[in-house]
């Protein structure tokens, strides 16, 4: 029972920390912090499914977060009438047809062994099919992209409710995860790390440069909220400060419902037969395979489930920020910080990942003002001593959080390698004397 007591102490002190931040930094700031921390902890839960349950080394979290952000932008941003009245939809339809022809070519080339063509001829046919498919696709996409970018700007959104966008973020992330998983999951751990980080960089390059679809570095804003925005509250007659508190608090309520719902479901899955099977595969996939479990398809399953949560978390973050900026995504901010959350919180334990998500996000955000205060006091001291002051304090203290993050993870690996709230390995009660 000591582990439960330890966890509740940790959660109580986390609560006290949030209250302290609220007293120090003001209520609107703290609620914003809580919303973002909750979204990040949802992403951390997603990684905990992949790494903690399944032992899959996903270093491409940023890609899924971006996909979630794109999905919610595409679904919820108002319809771009100019695009739908132009030739754009027709040209895009031709792009889809071209992509379909290319896909048929590739699939056809893969089926060649069935009609007796194999060996070298089969390999050559496969390569030729890929090249032909690429040329057909490029011949349609390039003019379409140029046309849309020069006339309507970008395709715009669908103008649907935001919650659909969150769900679509999960679905789109699942589809991409299926494709990535099919390609990469057979790889060894460190190869999987490099391959996933590579795929996430490809996703970033695509979303950043497909201006006709995502508006690229021009950014899309405003992205709507699922609840009334502060401006709506101001129209209804509340004061500025109050309107921010009301709007952000109602957003926080919606996010908390999502997080608690996800936590409830995955906790049940963890304790059920499915979770036991996944842990068996994680701990020894050879013996699990010999027990008749299909290791590869189970791992694909868990990779997709994790990606769904990551995609939803990314969608929540984007709609809260009200802006989709593909240039703002960085591996440090969106991949490595999530890893720190899960490692420090406790891989394999959902409450640990949740705790790590909220705690590390608060540390990550607060290390900037704290180090700024520290630098200012050192600077005053050195000025008083007759030495010169520290230059560029503001930009330097922003960089401190990267250092703090690195320090936290190396300390955690050394002194608490299983995390603050470690996974509880349940013993079979009958075996105890």
């Amino acid at each position: 029972m000591s582990s439960i007591r330890r966890a509740s102490y940790l959660y109580l002190s986390l609560f006290a920390l949030i209250i302290g931040v609220g007293l120090l930094m003001g209520v609107p700031f703290t609620i914003r912090l809580c919303v973002e921390a909750a979204a990040y902890s949802l992403i951390a839960l997603g990684l905990n499914i992949q790494w903690g349950y399944g032992g899959l080394f996903n270093f491409g979290i940023m890609g899924f977060v971006m996909i979630g952000g794109f999905a919610v932008t595409f679904i919820s941003v108002p319809i771009n009438v100019e695009f739908w009245n132009s030739d754009g939809p027709l040209m895009l339809f031709r792009v889809i047809v071209a992509a379909g022809i290319g896909a048929l070519l590739v699939i056809g080339a893969n089926k060649l062994p069935k009609i007796g063509i194999s060996g070298k001829a089969y390999r050559v046919a496969q390569v030729m099919a890929w090249i032909a498919a690429y040329i057909i696709y490029r011949s349609q996409i390039d003019p379409a992209a140029n046309y849309i970018e020069s006339t309507a700007g970008f395709v715009g959104g669908l103008g649907l409710p935001v919650v659909f966008g969150w769900a679509f973020g999960g679905i789109l992330a699942a589809i991409i995860a299926y494709i990535i998983g099919k390609i990469c999951l057979g790889l060894r751990t460190d190869y999987l790390a490099i391959a996933t980080i590579g795929v996430s960089e490809i996703i970033r390059a695509l979303i950043k440069n497909m201006d006709w679809l995502t508006r690229g570095t021009l950014t899309v804003s405003p992205v709507p909220w699922p609840v009334p925005k502060p401006q709506d509250f101001q129209i209804m007659g509340s004061e500025t400060l109050q309107s921010f508190v009301f709007a952000r608090a109602s957003y926080l309520a919606v996010v908390l419902i999502v997080v608690i719902g996800a936590l409830f479901l995955i906790q049940r899955a963890y304790n059920g037969p499915w979770g036991r099977m996944m842990r068996a595969i994680r701990d020894n996939h050879i013996s699990a395979a010999s027990m008749g479990k299909n290791v590869k398809s189970r791992q694909l399953e868990i990779f997709i489930f994790g990606a769904v949560l990551i995609g939803i978390g990314g969608a929540i973050l984007t709609s809260f920020a009200q802006i989709f900026d593909p240039g703002g995504y960085q591996p440090i901010n969106h991949t490595f910080v999530i890893w720190v959350m899960v490692i420090v919180g406790g891989a394999g334990n959902n409450y640990g990942a949740l705790f790590g998500g909220i705690f590390i996000y608060i540390v990550w955000v607060l290390s900037e003002p704290v180090s700024q205060a520290l630098f200012i006091s050192i600077s005053e001291f050195s000025t008083n001593m007759g030495w010169s002051a520290i230059p560029e304090i503001e930009s330097r203290s922003l960089q401190m959080r990267v250092f703090v993050l690195g320090l936290v993870i190396t300390l955690a690996l050394r002194y608490a390698p299983r995390g603050l709230i470690p996974e509880v390995i349940e013993q079979d009660i009958k075996e105890k004397p």
Binding site: C184, A205, V340, S395, L405, R414, P417
Partner: protein, 332 residues
Amino acid sequence: MNELIFFFNKVIISGAVLGSIYALGAIGITLIFGILRFAHFAHGDMMTLGAFVTFVLVAAASALGLSAPLPMGFMVLPLAMIIASAMALGIDKGFYAPLRARGAKPVTLLIASIGVTLMIQGLIRLFFGVKSRTFFAQEPKNIFRIEVPFFDATRKITITEPQILMILVTIVAVIALHFFLTKSKFGKAMRAMADNADLAQISGINTKLVIRVTWIIAGALACLAGTMLALDVTLKPDLAFNIVLPIFAAAIVGGLGHAYGAIAGGFLVGFAETMAVFNWAILLRPFRENLPAWIPNDLSIVPTEYKLTVAFVILVIVLLIKPTGIFKGASS
């Protein structure tokens, strides 16, 4: 003819320069993987750190009023490499050695190297800020324009002094490494340990010393690669973090743990990147009148924005078709 010289400048020279950087980085990564069995993510930031060490030394040298026929950043390199090796040893002692002593899995070491990456980046930005710097504030950057005397070409072959030095240094480093690995006692011990660490230990090889030598070589090579890269472009805190992934791709394509494979992989990835973004329609320009009009004016394989993705496409294809890389990598 001008088109061919343009091709030479854009593809052959750029590819050789890029390939040299990738090869120098990939050798370090592949050596660490061969001996310690983990993917050392912090290697890119060790390159950046080495470049900043050189920068500080150059600043000190110009404060003393020293001058040299070659770029100052190149002259202080030996000293910078020694300092960077000491730093690499310190990083190992502080962060990786305690984990190894506990018998941690390679994955834990990989995550620890992410932590080291973040700490190095944070420290560099804390002390040097985020702005770009150049090694050529005090001295000119020599650019050689070589005229091609035949076929009435007007365009010239262009190469800068740092680029020539970089290619030469890579060749020297590769030859030195080859003799070190095949002829010296430590080199042979390293190869034995990469093959089978337990067997090497019971044959009386001092594995702790081999690990230290590995870090010294990796740190020196990282400093070399980082400095050469910073001499070619500019010095900024995310100098090497952005190219650590193509470097990994090069190391894996060549076969992780295989030093010659890393060199081959580096040049393969470098040339593939420059060739993929080159506009091949330029080579057709002299024959333009005789060609059908439907051939577009842009025949680059991928748009320039997607240059970095080329490395990953190669990586994924190699992993799918031949997971051990072109040369057979270290088994683990």
